[in-house]
Symmetry: C2
Subunit: 195 residues, 2 copies
């Protein structure tokens, strides 16, 4: 998605070979016009997938998920991240390890908001090792729904999340795919291919 | 705002005389059509206020703030809630006490996303004691901006936040104002007046 790649080029900053900071338009400041375009792009890619619900995870997945939901005419549910819980009878719970923050969170979704037969589009801001996406997919399946696809704003293709998700049979659509952040440079996958 | 009040009536649940649960359309599951209507309503009320930026706070403020930002043609910044911080040179920090959760959080905004001269609309999902709104307002003012208004989705008018904010000179626009949650009943302010 060219508009997104342009935003990454001009407003993103490479903090290390693993970390791209996009707090200028996605993770802290949000550009609503770009989010609307991202929502339309997700909707276009998954229009024929029979989506009944979008599942995302707080915090930075909410904006792109909401715009996609508006386009697709479905509701969004955002999973919560918590350290640990006492009351959990009414929740689906999955442990998700964050490599970036080196901490394990419990990701929870209220049982009443996922239904048997739901065809769920999982949306998240970043895909790195795939931990969050796998956790959300397990929750969908535990609820008796199907994962109709996984929509990612920025895929770090040099990490193995996308490959692992595809091996597991999931359809992954990433709007920007980053091949490398070496030497403080953002290299997109497409650029490498066409070079 | 009738559409919002209808959603509160049909999908909200009163947990106690102080707590209204709206996780069916705002705090966990999000209804994007209702959020778009909420965004339009905020935009209409603040159209002439010269808003240059919207400031909200994670997590549940993001959806209504994003839809209002799209309507007003400005960016959103969402403040982060954290327990405590070590690195903070580049952040505005305010302590905010949550009466509901009985915990003090630090609310932070990156210095680079607020500017001198900004006219900021603060948006949040709930207004109770006004702690979060006052914290965000202090951050705006510390940055040299002005608080052009405070837009609230659901005001618990039986608590004193709205009154305190108005006393302090802020314009508060709440889309639903709740007079009471006694006896497991949602009573709106308008209904009380017209009764």
């Amino acid at each position: 998605m060219e508009q997104l790649k342009q935003a990454i080029r001009t407003e993103g900053s490479v903090l290390s070979a693993n970390v791209l900071k996009v707090d200028a338009f996605l993770n802290h400041r949000i550009d609503p016009v770009l989010m609307a375009a991202i929502g339309r792009e997700f909707a276009e890619r998954f229009r024929e997938a029979g989506i009944t619900k979008i599942l995302t995870i707080e915090t930075s997945g909410i904006a792109p998920a909401l715009m996609a939901a508006l386009e697709l005419g479905v509701a969004v549910v955002f999973a919560r991240k918590q350290k640990s819980l006492t009351m959990r009878d009414d929740l689906y719970v999955q442990k998700v390890y964050s490599f970036t923050k080196q901490v394990e969170n419990e990701v929870t979704v209220s049982r009443k908001f996922l239904e048997k037969g739901d065809r769920v589009l999982i949306i998240d801001d970043f895909l790195a090792h795939g931990e969050a996406a796998f956790g959300l997919a397990k929750i969908v399946e535990e609820a008796g729904g199907a994962v109709a696809g996984i929509g990612i704003v920025i895929e770090k293709s040099f990490q193995n999340g996308a490959a692992k998700l595809q091996e597991a049979g999931y359809r992954v659509e990433s709007l920007a795919r980053i091949a490398s952040l070496e030497n403080n440079q953002v290299q997109f996958v497409e650029e490498t291919i066409h070079a």
